[in-house]
Structures are given as structure tokens and as C-alpha cells.
Symmetry: C2
Subunit: 200 residues, 2 copies
């Protein structure tokens, strides 16, 4: 069984959302599983500089337009969350806590957070909001509510974000397949091709 | 006759080179001509901030690797010019001076400058080097040598670069087709699709 494709993303990233909408299906079609790896772009910016894409002069205007256009092309709904970008640290902590028990449930939670944020425009920044999503999905909401107050879960999430940055991840989405890195939702076809032919 | 696709690029941009290697043929295949529009990324950085891609922490390492990998995938030779990035202001001035007489010859010059820079790794920054390319191509080298000393040609080039930035161009390559903008050599398929179906 080959290693899964590592799918790194920030919950507040529209291009991450676009990738999240299709990555499992597209990788399944080429016979690979996907390991979902949320991280925090803000942590990257703290270390190496940078700022949210949509705040960069010129590029920000282009990006806002391209995000909407890309969603339309992919047949995916896109509503801007308010605020945007939003703080997704609670979502990241929830994900990695849940993943310890069930990676499948963690991915389920991640997909629903993305859907509410970018298909419905909801503010997904609060811990109680994330617990609400878990509750709606029939997951262990009481366990999650406690976990989000637990310093060891904060440490766990921090370690996962540090590991992502250590692996070279600087943008969202970012994919690592068999040690090869690809940045951007518009490179998923490259990831597919790399899986299919084993490099070029 | 529909308007040509505007192809903006910096001569020192590897991704610009990759686009230059295929853009005329790919657009011809969908029935569009291409208007080559060199500009200077350095002028963008002066106005809105930014720095050469390969100098950005993390992203720079990724970009160097991806440029080589993308060239290999496209079947295009890639040799790093020394120095890199290089100053391409003489090439830009030469292009726009020559374009006034013959857009076809200007494009011919641009392709050869790109080829020598990125297929052969030559330093293409000097005015005399650019004149040498024109000479080898059988173009008006004496006229060009004089033009590169002419303040009005400097003004012409500056106006073209300013016009690119005014049109929103912030990266290389950058395409504008029927008022719609696309950034990146990995978006040429989007440009093709936009031409074919008139938007989405």
C-alpha cells in the first residue's frame, strides 16, 4: 500500500477549500488515500514573513477574482466568510484531537468546517462553533469541548503545525506525494500525474 | 478578428520562459494571436513591495525545484543563467523599439533572448549582448545600438512597463484575454479554455 498523499491546508484558505472539495475523489481515482494535514498560514508568516494573499497589493485583487472564478469553474459554491481571513486555530486543534481517535471523523469534521465557512459564509473561528459542528455530525462534542481547553491538545496542534513548516509547507493547499511537493489547487493534476507515472 | 492574447513576462523569469516556449503555438491552436508584452518585475516590486520569487524563504526553494521540474515536464531545456535573476531593462527597451517597426521581429528577438538565457545559461543583461542577438538574427543592429542610447526609447519602455502595471500585471507570466487576467504558466490551459468557450 503506497503512502497517502499529504494534503496541507489552512481552514481559512479559499484555494484550500477548493482542493478539499475534490482531493479525496481525485486521489481515489488514481488509487491513493489522502492524509489531511491542517496547519496555520499565520505561523508561516511569523517565521518567514508574508501576509494573507488577499491583502497583498495587486495580487490580492487578482486572487479574490480568481478564487470566485476558480470555484465557478469547479462547480463549487463560494461565499466569503465574515470575517475573512478567519482564525482557524480551534479547528486545527479539534482536527488533531479527533484524528487520534479516528482520522476518518477528523476529515469529516474538516470537510464540514470548510463547507460552512465557504459554501455558507459562516464564521468558523470560535471554539464553541467548532464544537457545534462536531455535535451536528454526531461526534463526541463533550470530549471535544474539554479537549479544546486542554494544554496538551494545544501542544499537539502546535507540533503538527511545526511539522508542516518543517516539511517545507508555506502555502495552502500544499501536497506532498512520495516526497515530492506541489503548491496550489491548480497543481492537483500534477499530483495525479505524479501518482500515475511515478515522476517525470 | 478577435483581439490577441496579451502575454506579459519578465525576461529574467523562468516561468515566463516556459510560457514563451509554447504560448504562440498553444494560442494558434485555439485561433488566437499573441501580443508579447515584456515588463520589469523590479518595477512592480518598487511600487507594491515584493522580491524575486527565488529569494523568498521556503517559497524560493520550492520555486527553484518546481521550475526545473516544470521545464522537464514540458520537455524544455533549462539552464540557470548567471547571474540570476538578471537585469533585463536593455532587452525590454530593445523589444519595444523593434516592435515599432516589426512586432514579428520583436517577438523573434524576445524568443532568442529567452533561449540564450534559459536554454544556454548566458547572461543577457547587457545592452551590447542584446545588440549581438539582434545582429545574429540579421536584424538592424546599428539602429538598435543607437536606440538603446536614446532617451526617447527609455521613455517608451518605461511607458510600456507602467501600462502593464496599470493593467494589473504583477507577476510573470501574466495573460490578459478579452479583459480577463490569468497569472502563471500553469494557467495557460485556463487561457485556452477561456478563448474556446468565452468564459465560464
Amino acid at each position: 500500500m503506497p503512502a497517502p498523499v499529504e494534503f496541507y491546508f489552512d481552514f481559512s484558505s479559499p484555494y484550500g477549500y477548493l482542493a478539499a472539495c475534490c482531493i479525496d475523489e481525485r486521489m481515489a481515482a488514481v488509487g491513493r488515500e489522502v492524509s489531511w494535514r491542517p496547519f496555520l498560514l499565520g505561523a508561516v508568516y511569523k517565521i518567514v514573513g508574508g501576509q494573507p494573499l488577499v491583502d497583498i497589493p495587486m495580487k490580492g485583487d487578482y486572487a479574490r477574482h480568481d478564487m470566485v472564478r476558480s470555484a465557478r469553474r469547479n462547480g463549487v459554491p463560494l461565499t466569503w466568510p465574515r470575517p475573512f481571513p478567519f482564525m482557524s486555530v480551534a479547528a486545527v486543534r479539534a482536527f488533531y484531537w479527533l484524528e487520534q481517535q479516528s482520522p476518518k471523523e477528523a476529515t469529516q469534521l474538516a470537510k464540514e468546517i470548510f463547507r460552512r465557512a465557504f459554501a455558507e459564509g459562516q464564521d468558523m473561528s470560535g471554539a464553541s462553533t467548532v464544537v457545534g459542528v462536531a455535535s451536528d455530525l454526531g461526534l463526541d462534542k463533550d470530549g471535544l469541548a474539554a479537549a479544546l481547553q486542554d494544554p496538551s491538545v494545544k501542544d499537539l496542534a502546535r507540533a503538527k503545525v511545526d511539522a508542516a513548516i518543517g516539511a517545507g509547507v508555506f502555502g495552502s493547499p500544499y501536497f506532498i506525494v512520495d516526497g515530492e511537493s506541489f503548491w496550489g489547487h491548480d497543481r492537483i493534476s500534477d499530483v495525479e500525474e505524479w501518482v500515475r507515472v511515478g515522476g517525470w
